[in-house]
């Protein structure tokens, strides 16, 4: 098995987390004060501190920071994979940021981004990332597991699914001024998928705050599913009873299913999913079932026909 849990973490590696949060809070306040005089400016990534390094990792070599931050899909900023890094940093203001949590839960509410992640210790997880377009990366995310974040809102027995929504603001996300997809972008998970220990809310990568093009300030990371499930720049989390329809399911019902688990045996109409190009490598690799996370997640789908539930 490729997953490892870090065992020996030196005390010195665990920098003071209060310091990190104070810094963010200060920046938020400063940005708010500055906003009285100046237009808000896009965020510059700063170093993150106080996270547990390599809490989970894989044997594969991480993809370069350059590639991760210049080659990705984020149609809110354009449909070329170089568009997000070209256009997002100039326009995408991510402070202040809050997330509304609603639906089938005991304690709904709107929470500032900092307060949403504060109760859970930050950690680094190096995950494989597999795009449905048959390319892949290895990304050192920093963030928090999703489950403890969700539990705080006390999801009820009718919370069978979780729906996530990206910001809708064509001023900050210029790609939304064209009807390429039915904005805002929406994604969903079954509640047990959302509560799975691998499911992660990333706020940084390579030890820095997430850059706008990668889904700042917080995005989902579901490493055993195709990348488009890992919704970026989340503003709403809803506990719902019925399976939500996602943006890509609407755009192409034959192409994108609700589950979208990485599966080399079920081809997408456009791409064979048997192999993938790891960014930075010449030869294609064989794609692993559940992106190599089968030991942890296969049990979620026991008895399900993964061909029908693609």
């Amino acid at each position: 098995m490729l997953l490892r849990h870090a065992v020996d973490i030196r005390e010195s590696e665990i920098t003071d987390r209060a310091l990190y949060l104070d810094r963010r809070r200060f920046l938020t306040l400063a940005a708010g004060a500055a906003g009285l005089a100046l237009a808000p400016r896009p965020v510059q990534a700063g170093p993150l501190a106080g996270y547990r390094k390599r809490a989970m990792t894989v044997d594969d070599k991480p993809t370069s920071f350059e590639a991760i931050t210049t080659y990705n899909n984020f149609y809110e900023f354009g449909t070329d994979k170089s568009d997000p890094s070209k256009y997002a940093p100039g326009v995408f203001v991510t402070k202040p940021w809050s997330v509304a949590v609603d639906g089938e839960c005991g304690k709904p509410g709107t929470v500032a981004f900092e307060d949403l992640i504060r109760p859970v210790p930050l950690e680094e997880r190096i995950y494989r990332h597999r795009c449905v377009e048959a390319w892949s990366m290895v990304i050192p995310w920093v963030g928090v597991p999703l489950a403890p974040v969700l539990k705080r809102f006390e999801p009820g027995s009718r919370a069978k699914y979780v729906r996530f929504t990206t910001l809708l603001d064509p001023k900050r996300m210029p790609g939304q001024s064209r009807p390429i997809l039915d904005w805002p972008y929406r994604e969903g998970l079954r509640i047990d998928e959302a509560m799975h220990p691998l499911t992660f809310l990333a706020v940084g990568l390579y030890g820095q705050d997430l850059l706008p093009q990668n889904g700042a300030p917080l995005r989902l990371v579901v490493p055993w599913k195709y990348g488009f499930k890992s919704i970026k720049s989340i503003v709403r989390i809803s506990f719902v009873e019925k399976q939500p329809t996602t943006t890509w399911m609407e755009a192409g019902p034959d192409e994108y299913g609700f589950y979208s688990n990485v599966n080399p045996h079920v081809d997408h109409p456009r791409w064979s999913q048997a192999t993938e190009r790891r960014i930075g490598e010449f030869f294609r690799r064989k794609t692993l079932m559940f992106n190599g996370y089968g030991d942890q997640v296969a049990s979620l789908y026991q008895g399900m026909d993964l061909r029908a539930n693609f």
């Binding site: 080659y71 994979k81 390429i180 081809d267 109409p269 791409w271 064979s272 190009r277 010449f282 294609r284």
Partner: protein
């Protein structure tokens, strides 16, 4: 051959090679981004389609301007379309799939945009093969003209190939589609009219 044409031919030839020079330079200089194989493949496909459209524009331009000599560039431009199409497919076969013939065969059968693209390239082959003077003579002018009308099918196939490949934002294939449709539409009156041939 007029003097202008004698100068124009090598100039057009050199200009037509510029995209290849440019992409070769990008590849060497690391300017193709994080996924250079994909970038190269897209670049070559774009230029194959552009040359198809430019070649298709020759006859309408000749008729509009009355400059007969421009017609003499058509063969070269058509052959450049074939040249970039072959490079486009070669980059898919040799770089993207690294000669995995089984995967390529499956792609052609199952990925419809690849099926359509391969059909377009296959149809281009007899056109390129009959582009020499001696082949034109052997085939015969009338048959040759009939055969080369295949480009009226090939160009839409190439646009459809691009259209199908795109996931959601069809603005670029739409532009190519509109240009192709115009270039085909201007031929319709002659095609349907009493002259009956182009």
């Amino acid at each position: 051959m007029s003097r202008a044409l004698r100068l124009a031919k090598p100039a057009v030839f050199a200009v037509s090679l510029l995209p290849l020079v440019w992409v070769a330079w990008l590849a060497v200089a690391g300017g193709l981004g994080a996924n250079p194989i994909e970038a190269l493949n897209r670049f070559l496909g774009d230029w194959a389609l552009r040359f198809l459209l430019v070649a298709l524009a020759v006859t309408p331009v000749r008729r509009l301007t009355g400059w007969a000599a421009v017609g003499r560039l058509r063969r070269m431009l058509g052959l450049f379309a074939f040249f970039y199409a072959v490079l486009h497919v070669s980059s898919y076969v040799g770089l993207d799939q690294f000669f995995d013939w089984q995967a390529i065969g499956k792609d052609i059968l199952k990925r419809h945009y690849i099926t359509v693209g391969m059909a377009a390239l296959t149809l281009l082959v007899p056109l390129a093969a009959t582009s020499t003077q001696s082949m034109i003579r052997r085939v015969g002018g009338r048959n040759w003209r009939r055969l080369h009308r295949a480009v009226y099918v090939i160009t839409p196939l190439a646009v459809v190939h691009f259209w199908m490949m795109v996931k959601a934002d069809h603005s670029r294939p739409l532009v190519y589609g509109v240009v192709a449709a115009l270039l085909l539409a201007v031929r319709l009156p002659r095609f349907l009219g009493p002259a009956g041939r182009t």
